[in-house]
């Protein structure tokens, strides 16, 4: 496997696996991210601070007072040479989503029109997509989730919204996302989940992690309210929505 090492200053470098967005390349990124985590758990890779996976590259952050790029690079090479298990088990996450409230899904009609579908067909295509969390970024807990049914492909909105509510479910290009905070956003809003992608009160405040497999499940307005109440009260059993498995990797 040929990778490119790119400098990100003297505190990080990037291990680039290719120049395309594909499940195969992202799988290699995530496998190296996991391999680094295991090596560190065994006391290896001294001076490495953290790794940051993205679509096709893993950024390796290090402390130049404890190690050097020259020392670390061969160790990363060795991990890659040992073989990256790209079929690692991932967590299965289910996101309950209410598509039926017009306040939750202001763009559903427009998406249907532009993709020449009925709103019900748009919902069905979203529900039928097998999603994978590729990368988190832009804001804490915001996941870029690839795998959207290609028939729903639309570019971002020409005019981004200045403010949209927390937990809005949106689509753009070949991805879907869930906004962790009230924030600006340029994607098409087709539903809302009662789950919070970021909750400071939880021991692990970020719900999704790179590598998670993810599907959406349709819920009614009443079901939405019932779950939302528990989320707000902090009494939700989150394991209902997430299988065991490698979760977010801490420091």
């Amino acid at each position: 496997m040929s990778v490119r090492y790119l400098s990100c200053g003297d505190t990080a470098f990037s291990v680039e696996f290719g120049n395309e967005i594909s499940p195969r390349i992202n799988g290699q990124v995530m496998a190296l991210h996991a391999a680094v985590g295991r090596a560190r758990a065994e006391g290896g890779l001294a001076g490495l601070v953290e790794t940051v996976p993205s679509m096709r590259a893993l950024m390796v952050c290090y402390d130049p007072l404890s190690t050097t790029r020259r020392e670390l690079e061969p160790q990363i090479d060795a991990l890659i040479a040992r073989g990256l298990a790209t079929d690692a088990a991932s967590r299965k996450v289910r996101i309950p989503c209410c598509y039926d409230d017009p306040d939750f899904a202001p763009d559903l009609a427009e998406v249907a029109e532009r993709t020449k579908k009925t709103p019900e067909q748009v919902i069905a295509a979203h529900l039928g997509s097998a999603f994978k969390v590729y990368v988190l970024g832009f804001m804490p807990g915001l996941a870029y989730i690839a795998g959207l049914d290609p028939s729903l492909y639309l570019p971002r909105r020409a005019q981004p919204r200045v403010r949209l509510p927390r937990s809005t479910v949106a689509i753009a290009m070949d991805m879907t996302t869930i906004y962790p905070f009230e924030s600006p956003g340029g994607w098409h809003l087709i539903g809302r989940t009662p789950l919070w992608m970021f909750d400071q009160r939880r021991e692990q405040p970020v719900f999704l992690a790179p590598g998670d497999s993810l599907t959406f499940e349709r819920i009614s307005g009443a079901e939405y309210d019932a779950i939302a109440q528990k989320v707000e009260a902090g009494t939700l059993d989150w394991s209902l929505f997430c299988s065991d498995g490698p979760g977010p990797i801490g420091p």
Partner: protein
Amino acid sequence: MSGLKVVRAGLFDTVQDLGRTGYMALGMPTAGAMDRIGLTLANALAGNPANTAGLEIGVMGPDLLVEAESVRLALVGPLSPSLIEGDDAPPRPIDSDRSHLLKRGQVLRVGMVEGSSTAYLAVAGGFDIQPFMGSLSTYARAGIGGLKGRKLAVDDVLPLKLDSAPAGEERKLGGPFDYGSGPIRVIWGPQDDYFSEAGRQTFVSAEYKVSKEADRMGIRFEGPAIEHSKGADIISDGIGPGAIQVPGAGLPIVLLADRQTVGGYSKIATVASVDLPRLGRLLPGRIVRFTAITVDEAESLRREQEARLQRAIAGLQVARPAGGIDLTRLYEENLIDGIVYEREAVR
């Protein structure tokens, strides 16, 4: 509860330590002090480990009322004179770059930050605030960390771990720390191959001015446009501290403490960590140049700087107790008549 009560808010004062590392994979920016040297020295003067959270003072400091038996605090940075008020004495100007002992009821009026964008205040023992994801650093954009996830506001109370200052003498820096001068040193990459040879030459030969769009997230520069050869857009990847991204218009943006974790603009170069504290102090209107060095050079420059920082900490000097009079100096300066305030004695 012991604390420092904000009786007047400054402009952008946030609790910061050396950053929230370990969670970038979850989209969590590291945040942390813009000038790690300033925070480290303030902590050393207050008798704290380097990674203790202090107050980062942006542009204008707050007025803080001591609601504790006593507190030792240290100010580091180019501040206009700060004042201590209270105990029936006239307001007393105090120096930066040293520690001071304050008693209950006294008010510290932190001055304006002059000639830099940041200064630091550290308190002996630190703030009694629960860390969030292992750090006290404030990331205001998401309301995370620090005191209530935001900059200080009037009537906030910064809780203190200690109700009275530990015994010991006040300390001062042996001299100002040399942050270095000359061009800002950068390392090419990760996407220098997205730029034309002419574009790379522009970047390392032209002068760039710090625009008004400069904050904890980053600094947008004004100057000649840098020419791309493969376009401004890349498949989003990780953004390290000091990454210099160049969007389509060709003007560089240096990304700092509150930067997002991943981004989709090509990054021509990255500021060497040795010079990041300088970036954290740059004010709008300042002119800089960039010059390229290798990773090996940057790593060794950083280690030299760290050694100098440790020497500065080892070389802290005893300062007279706040409010006391330096008799030796008084006699030397032949000022034995009349009332002498500390500030005059210090000069």
